[in-house]
Amino acid sequence: MDFIQSHLLTIMMLTPLIGVFFIMLVNHPDQALVNRNVRHVSLLVTMVTFILSLLLWAGFDGSTADFQFVEKYKWFGDGISYYVGVDGISVLFIVLSAFLMPICILASWETIQKRLKEYMIAFLVLETLMIGVFSSLDIFLFYLFFEGGLIPMFLIIGVWGGAERIYASYKFFLYTLLGSVLMLVAMLYMIGEAGTTDIPLLMEYQFDPGVQKLLWLAFFASFAVKMPMWPVHTWLPDAHVQAPTAGSVILAGVLLKMGGYGFLRFSLPMFPDATVEFTWLIFGLSVIAIIYTSLVALVQEDMKKLIAYSSVAHMGFVTIGIFVLNTNGIEGSIFQMLSHGVVSGALFLCVGVVYDRLHTREISRFGGLATNMKKYAILWMIFTMASVGLPGTSGFVGEVLVLFGAYQFSSWLAFGAAFGVILGAAYMLYLTRRLIFGDLTHEETREMKDLSLREYTILLPLAAVVFWMGIYPASFLDPIRVSVDNLIVTHLDPALERAENRDADAAEQIAAHQE
């Protein structure tokens, strides 16, 4: 048990790879038998990983901001090391990734028939890489996981995607490449300047404020694409529309969070002075994103596109929360990311359910599903309400904390962001009306069957988490608290103070000059 505890992160990363190994071994002329085994192995290893992630959560000590479950081995000479660990900011993202994985495997149970082996391998490798991203404490290791994670995703969209998958994966690629090249250059500079690849040490290192701005912008390029922030968001709707259901779940549920996580892990602690300088940029883009993409979501005719655009709007809340640089805002944005991971994942699964039956995502082809798909309608309503941030669901806690934080920063900011709350209700309810309400006018929709046991098993835990997070969020806020406080006290507050002093000095100089 001690061994497991002290090597938990490594074991979690290896478990899916062990699954990959076994899947590769499976070989038999009977394709059906092979597929069955592949599915079972995949489900088993992802379940094991999920249980391990619960151990991680249970064993996590929320009373300290230090990194825990740390493992460090020299890897590449003296420079790069295999260095992993978690703190309050990262631990729950790992739990989220591990939680969504078995759900994704189950969601692909029947729908994926083509190249199943490769598909499952791609997902399992992706799981390893996602856990790696959130646990890396070496900047170079982070880079490998962060960029490497795109390769399986790229394959999932490009091979198992819809008709326009090539265009979509191309767009995905182009945007991401732009961001990652700039980030790589910045990382190399940092390593050269600070003389270490160690993330905790880099956090302590004081970069020159002028340089910080360039570094901040370089990282921003990468994270803004990932979030995605307006105006570099247009890859997301296409990627979602083309991706298979499980791909969308992981994309919205975990990959988008890497941008927000990156801001919290790198931009804020390492370049605090630049962060303080650039808040206006983030707020401008975020408020535009919230209003712009909400309006765009209102007129979508494709369900997945609508939810993809709503994701951009929700991520706008997250970026606002991160950059208001206060406790409510940052805790709220982390909570909002976790909640969005669950809720948008669930909504994409719901779209997948009807897509599997009718093979279209065009909203006008549906309608009246409340009549013949009652269980589906109830679950859809739960996730819709979580998406519009109804109190008592997970969506509310994150949103309201972010707005509390935003208002403390500026009432204008809260005012702008709160428009998203009105528009969010409009586009989600308009979708709901066209999807599950109304009369059953189409012959095909009348034939559609309610949720199967498998689909029910997938969606029910997600609904339970939505309520758990909404009614008793302490389970999620408690581990986060101390690490966020530490981030604010040791990095952000001093930077804010420096900025204030600079402003005061400048004002004095101007005054002196005028005299």
Partner: protein, 644 residues
């Protein structure tokens, strides 16, 4: 005890919501109605305690909710007189509506769903009125909004019901926008969202200012205005009222419970709850007065010409809510809540009576196709007439005490806007009386204008529906006489015990000293309204037609509800879709993609064209780029020797 009152409807909702199909209709009805009835009985016990022993003021903790930095709020109940009053109103009407629905919805195939929603609504409303902090109040606030959305759209196959449901939710969200900002401003000023702490510190903050949207404001004024915007949405006040008449798409028991007696009064409750803060924000009070009086007048004027029986009562509700608001605005908080209390009885009675009429007339709601219902449904007719008497303020009926107290308070007040309120209130009293009796004459008397088939099937409702009506009628007759001493009389100080602001020599005392013409004006208007209605709809039945033709412009203006729907459609709905489409096609499509990925792709098309399979080709590119990155990094380490 309080746990039981609040959570029993929740249990009913959960049990019937999850297992309703297997339980069957009858069991679902009994479980939900029974549990709410128990809640109602317990609520009356609490209320009697308050009356006997004076008010309490305590807090009951339930569960931790959110703790983030300095912000902390929990699930907890605040118990005081105002809570007790609301518990009685909500649970009594809810229980009666549950039992009534057993009869009313007996032909509906979706009984379990309906009863589950009703109980969900009741639970959310109870959470709202027992909230001990602003966020829990917001939980109840949005929860009743959800239940209202689900119940308005209960017959989800009807497009009009779905449209009305969305409208209700989104318009309420506009109000919540203000409510939310008000909560945040409260937190910035007081450092807490706990009600007791806010009220205790309100006086100390009366000279503070805060910045809001770049302007410096008197802090308590801006907070009160923002909270009031939320109240306007939920209570359908002028400007944010458009959802309420459409909400009549829902089944009639829903209209009685949610859109007459309880949910729509949540805004009134909020302002009364915040009376310890509002008293230090006189400008905000003026705003409340003016909006309330305007609504009272506006809604009554529209009610004059509507032909749908439920819409008439809906506009009447809207108008009465206006009365409650300007009562609060002039500082007569006790009177506002008293009217909320009495109104719940007689307006629920009127709605459920209308439901009984609709039932009798084979689901017809257009009064032009009614008439002569008296001979089919005498009990319903008598009960509705009692409701009308109570509403219009016939002496010694419920409305006589509460409504007249409000009008007198407006007259006695010297605050800005109170004259405006008084004049509009008296005119609205005339219109109230007119439309109420117009409804009565059109529905119950004269020749029956329904077709033969409907007439043959016309029948009185069963006792399941009539017994709740009788109980409500008892309230409509006696609620005013019995409780006036506590709410607005000599006993009010012990009764309220600080739950709402009231003190010797306040506006309620002054209102008692109003005499003469000012005092009797509403009563005179009531009689005049009756006579006019009788003349136009009892005697000279061709007169309304002629009047409508002569004053066609005014008639159309009223019939079309002052053209609010058209205006909002033009100002907000169409532009939102048009802008959305523009941003999508032009913004995302042409501009961002055109300059970004598509633009780049056309530059590199030649290279791309040479690739046999694009997706694998791209993958190699990507892997290649990453490898180059790694190689560069490793080289960097070796050359610079950093990392030591």
């Amino acid at each position: 005890m309080f746990h039981a009152i609040v959570f029993m409807p929740l249990i009913g909702f959960l049990v019937v919501g999850m297992f309703g199909r297997s339980l069957g209709d009858r069991a679902s009805q009994i479980i939900t109605s029974g549990l709410v009835t128990v809640s109602a009985i317990l609520s009356w016990m609490v209320f009697v305690d308050v009356i006997m022993g004076g008010g309490t003021n305590s807090s009951v903790a339930v569960l931790e909710w959110v703790r983030s930095g300095a912000l902390e709020f929990n699930w907890a109940f605040k118990i005081d007189t105002l809570t007790a009053v609301m518990l009685v109103v909500v649970n009594s009407v809810s229980a009666l509506v549950h039992w009534y629905s057993v009869g009313y919805m007996s032909h509906d195939p979706d009984n379990p769903r309906f009863f589950a929603y009703l109980s969900l609504f009741t639970f959310a409303m109870l959470m709202l009125v027992t909230a001990d902090n602003l966020i829990q109040m917001f939980f109840g606030w949005e929860g009743v909004g959800l239940a209202s959305y689900l119940l308005i759209g209960f017959w989800y196959k009807k497009p009009s019901a779905n449209a009305a449901a969305i409208k209700a939710f989104v318009v309420n969200r506009v109000g919540d926008f203000g409510f939310g900002l008000g909560i945040f401003a409260c937190f910035v000023l007081f450092g807490t969202v706990e009600l007791d702490a806010i009220f205790a510190n309100a006086e100390g903050m009366k000279d503070m200012t805060i910045m809001f949207l770049g302007t410096e404001w008197h802090a308590l004024t801006i907070i009160c205005i923002l909270l009031f915007i939320g109240a306007m949405g939920k209570s359908a006040q002028f400007g944010l009222h458009t959802w309420l008449p459409d909400a009549m798409e829902g089944p009639t028991p829903v209209s009685a419970l949610i859109h007459a007696a309880t949910m729509v009064t949540a805004g009134v409750f909020l302002v009364a709850r915040f009376s310890p803060v509002f008293q230090f924000a006189p400008d905000a009070m003026v705003l409340v007065t003016i909006v309330g009086a305007t609504t009272a007048f506006f809604a009554a004027s529209v009610g004059l010409v509507q032909n749908d029986i439920k819409r008439v009562i809906a506009y009447s509700t809207c108008s009465q809510l206006g009365y409650m608001f300007f009562a609060l605005g002039v500082g007569a908080f006790g009177a506002g809540i008293f009217h909320l209390f009495t109104h719940a009885f007689f307006k629920a009675l009127l709605f459920l009576g209308a439901g009984s009429v609709i039932h009798a007339m084979s689901n017809e709601q257009d009064m032009r196709k009614m008439g002569g219902v008296w001979k089919y449904a005498k009990v319903t007719a008598v009960l509705m007439i009692i409701g009308n008497l109570a509403l219009t303020g016939f002496p010694f009926m419920a409305g006589f005490y509460s409504k007249d107290a409000i009008i007198e308070a407006a007259y006695a007040s010297h605050a800005y806007g109170s004259n405006y309120a008084y004049i509009f209130a008296v005119i609205a009293a005339l219109m109230t009386s007119f439309y109420s009796w117009r409804l009565t004459f059109m529905t119950f008397f004269g020749e029956c204008r329904a077709d033969k088939h409907v007439q043959d099937h016309a029948h009185e409702s069963g006792s399941a529906m009539l017994i709740p009506l009788v109980l409500l009628a008892v309230g409509a007759v006696f609620a005013g006489y019995v409780f006036a001493p506590y709410f607005i009389g000599e006993l009010r100080f012990e009764f309220w015990n600080g739950a709402v602001v009231t003190s010797p020599g306040d506006i309620i005392d002054e209102a008692h000293h109003v005499h003469g013409a000012a005092k009797w004006a509403p009563t005179f208007m009531m009689v005049l309204g009756f006579v006019l209605a009788w003349w136009m709809y009892g005697r000279k039945t061709d007169l309304p037609q002629k009047l409508a033709e002569t004053f066609d412009g005014l008639y159309q203006f009223l019939l079309n509800k002052w053209y609010f729907d058209e205006l909002y459609d033009f100002l907000f709905v169409r532009p939102a879709f048009a802008i959305g489409r523009f941003l999508w096609k032009r913004g995302d499509g042409q501009t961002i993609d055109g300059l970004g990925p598509d633009g780049v792709s056309s530059l590199v098309r030649n290279i791309a064209a040479r690739m046999r399979t694009l997706q694998t080709g791209l993958l190699y590119h990507y892997a290649f780029a990453m490898l180059v990155g790694v190689a560069v990094a490793v080289t960097w380490f070796m050359v610079t020797g950093s990392g030591h």
